[in-house]
Symmetry: D2
Subunit: 345 residues, 4 copies
């Protein structure tokens, strides 16, 4: 049937790609995005469970008629690019193997996100492949597109950091953040598959619950990256980050409440954000509060920056599985392969 054939690239050879870890939500979507990508050939999908099943049976909404294979290394031989959707900690050794075989890799886990190894280990435990940290590039194209183009190992950012950093980058780069409270809301798919009672339908429907109100592991990621964006000497700032689970499948909204050292009017914010994001294909500045639904199943980020009653308020909405993970991985992969950035998205 028609959908069982991958799109054919008119101009010739496609990059041969594999996705490791397709049984989870972000791995499955990564496979699907590769499958229908005009310049990628998805040659292999692996899982740590469900081996032998077709991915299209496990996820009928992602119509990838490939069998889930075990993580057999030799099979990487004919592959040029790997996307790894393993849990934190488990990812590093797999990435190391792939890199050893010469594959370019986009990793969706936290394992290669941090410049500071101690910060990583403080949240996630001992690092499994520290020798690769230095060459890894943080895969948020709107912040470091040029480095991604040159990278052979890209670390996909966390979903919350993606939304938060896009919301705050224009202010941070201008040294305009003194204190920020980030109240984040995530759809249930952000918690991954088989999350127990909290992510069951009965547990999540008609409910909104904060979780990990202190010590969430995305807080140090946001802090490190915001710090790198900020001008030297812009001083210390405070950052509170609290996530909430909302009864939505896919979607994420961060509401950022910023106190600034400067007195910024709405026109200042409009200019600052407009200048920063004018040429971005996947960032839309909107003039009414963005909803999760507006960006569902897209790689887009909708941002509104407001001079609020007492603080600057910045809303940022993404789809946690797309721009917050698998979609952004493809965006980075396109850059790594010299393709147009929005290809296949």
């Amino acid at each position: 049937m028609a959908e069982m054939t991958q799109p054919i690239s008119p101009e010739g050879a496609k990059a041969r790609v594999m996705v490791a870890g397709v049984t989870g939500y972000t791995g499955a979507l990564s496979a699907w995005l590769c499958w229908q990508h005009p310049a990628l050939e998805l040659v292999r999908i692996t899982g740590r469970s469900e081996q032998g099943r077709l991915l299209s049976d496990l996820y009928p909404r992602y119509r990838v008629p490939l069998e889930i294979a075990g993580p057999d290394i030799a099979a990487f031989e004919d592959v040029e690019v790997g996307i790894v959707a393993y849990p934190h900690g488990a990812s590093a050794p797999m990435v190391a193997e792939m890199r050893g075989m010469g594959l370019s890799v986009v990793d969706l886990s936290a394992d290669f996100r941090f410049e500071d190894r101690a910060t990583y280990e403080n949240s996630y435990g001992p690092h499994g492949a520290p020798e690769l940290l230095e060459g890894a590039v943080y895969g948020l194209p709107e912040l470091n597109r040029e480095e991604i183009r040159e990278a052979e190992l890209v670390a996909g950012p966390g979903c919350y950091p993606t939304a938060a950093l896009l919301a705050l980058a224009p202010l941070a780069e201008a040294g305009l953040i003194e204190d920020v409270v980030i109240d984040a809301k995530s759809g249930v798919s952000g918690a991954g598959r088989n999350g127990g009672e909290a992510t069951s339908f009965v547990g999540a429907t008609e409910n909104v619950t904060p979780y990990k109100p202190a010590g969430h592991r995305h807080r140090p990621e946001i802090i490190e990256k915001l710090g790198l964006l900020s001008p030297a000497g812009s001083g210390d700032w405070h950052l509170t980050f609290v996530p909430h689970l909302v009864p939505v499948d896919q979607g994420e909204l961060v509401s950022c409440y910023v106190r600034s050292p400067a007195d910024l009017a709405q026109a200042d914010l409009d200019r600052l954000y407009g200048d920063r994001y004018r040429d971005e294909a996947f960032v839309n500045l909107v003039d009414s509060p963005p909803g999760m639904r507006d960006v569902r199943a897209t790689n887009r980020c909708h941002i509104q920056a407001l001079a609020g009653d007492d603080r600057i308020v910045v809303f940022s909405a993404i789809d946690n599985l797309w721009k917050g993970s698998a979609g952004q991985a493809i965006q980075s992969l396109n850059l790594m392969l010299g393709l147009e950035e929005p290809t296949g998205l």
Copy 2:
């Protein structure tokens, strides 16, 4: 059938009550709570539309088999108590009529919430019965129980102020708030009936959207009441308030991010909140983040106060239709009538 008879009070006479404005969500629930209340006799329900229909047909979930009457004043004669569930502005004249007939009144609108008339009029327009303002009591029993006992006109607080004030009162009373960001999430019923596309199923499902991010009318209400709680000379503080619509029917969660002039440890917060709420029937201090679902269809408020990563974080969950409106109205009414506060709730 069994449910068609109101519970009979063992000790004799019940207070005769009417509910004006039963076609909306809070009015309908108020009628239902009165109907099954052991010490109230619901003798009349009125609506500005749907006249002649049984309330149990309009709202099968509220099994009140009374006909919706028009707002005919003469009919108030045999009534001792009125609950008014009219929109802001429309409520004041109805309340004035009821008070003129000698009824004790609980009003669910904003019309009698403010001590400062100018603050009211700045948000809601000209006041329809300013002569009644001085005698009106703000109906948040946990804050001013004794005044409510003596009151003949009680103004039910807004749903967000209810949750926010219960969350912040212990800190405010001790002069421990310097700056607070309130990120609030409300179920769709909070927007009232027939709210258009945003409150349609298609508009709200799989969506979370901020709304009125600047200038929401509950902000001045919170500011006035927090100010009254704060010790004299506790100085100015900043308050940001931003509500969000979440795909939940009934439920409200406010997440309060507080910077305090003091350095409070978790044990300090536990003591402060424990002392304040120990004897409250409807406030539960919980030690994991409260969910909307935990308090659904109850008059309860679940609160957690946390020494967070960088700020004090206080979560407060209520059912916006119950503790946020109709349930709290019954709680106040019980006090006004000399009944046990939790009767019928």
Copy 3:
């Protein structure tokens, strides 16, 4: 705090009750209904897991501040009545132990529902206490109230059979069913706790799926009970039963499509159903299609019987956890204890 004290029965002694298996949805609700029942004293709750936790921590929405105990038999000594909310098969031995200690029992599993042991074993496997089958009474009060009053072991019906039998009883008793298709829709809580991907939020939201379209175990239960209701010699009839999972927490709707040997007009149906259910406290005949929401968190069943375009159509809506399980158990228990049938419901 106020809710931590069970209601006190004015007239004196309460029946001492235990609930076995409170970690699942129906057991937890059973415990909650007992806790707030004016004529029951809940003295013990047990679980096969979560021992030592307070039920009010596991289920904040059910405020039962008792510790979950292990299933220790000696502890039954001071108990008069047991409710068993164990899985099918595991229930029979527990029921046998309780009966051996002299307790009256309401069992929520399928283990004692069938008159015909072979039918049971065909669906559920070998029976664990066949000696108790003869004395067990099917606990659908609207069908066999008098037997329940005398019973010491009541088998709570399945949720689908409850809704379907109430829908079809008037027709079956009059021999008016020739062929029936039952299309059933259930909320996710009907599948029990920890049901895997299908009952996860991501799996269930924005989805409707048929399941077990052939061979569902509630079909033989419906067939046996309908057969017992039908007049001798009313002949064979056909019955199709297909359940669907809908993105609702609690609620069940069965749509029954009946071909009748007689030509029944709407007035005939109105008379038949009106006569049958006039005096029932928990069955409401409605004249527009009933919704799940109308009966949520109640023990009610809303039924509409219609002379449709081509067939008789009967809709029946219940809350699967209440009338479909725990609520109906209390209804039966009230009868067994000589209380008013709706007490505490």
Copy 4:
């Protein structure tokens, strides 16, 4: 920004298309599908309200940056193809105008669906352009692809008939239907925009309700088309059709319960359906019950045909806005324009 440019067809001229009535759900989606279609140029969108607004503001999820124009006829001049998404009755005059200007038209309303004018008028009232009825082709490509290729006026089928006819066609064509009960479930978007309390979030969430259980207007549509498929002399059959509203945005599932004059085993059904749909790009035969979610936001129909306990059971799942309306319109339009059938879908 990138998405603001329509895809450019490599081979040259695109068909110039307009969509009339874009403020409703199916019109808005039609516009979006045209906008991103590689062989269509969307040159005009009209609405009977919201004129002057950008469609991308009204529906952020459909990123069509065109202004909504009024229904000005002169403006049709440069247009070759029209899609009309008007309500029943209002559509016929608009279609007549377009046809008068020489446009090829796909109409989404019921106005041109019936071969028998009396059947139409019995359900919908007087026909507004009966002279066009004879030339109109029913736009269900899987049933009458060749006629659609030649048509200048295609009537898009109703959403329920689409799902039901695809489910039943193989049986009907073989004369294998004697009696059928169709229990249909639709997401809320099927009721259209601004549907009042029943389609509000509060009315629809945690609810499932039958509606129009007798006399739904899709029943005669299904009967007429099934009759046309059935072999002459295959005799009379009975058909019951009852729709239900489920708390889903987009999605539709019909469960068909068929009594057949023949005794069909599972292998017979597999062969019959396999032969019928083997070459269809948009029909998938699945071997476990299809869920609405599997086909969300696709033009696909998932079908399972089962030899059930007592009857043949056929499930058919579509997205009511896609295959049930706007997607199928594009599928027909592709045929009318001589394009590959799945282009742009």
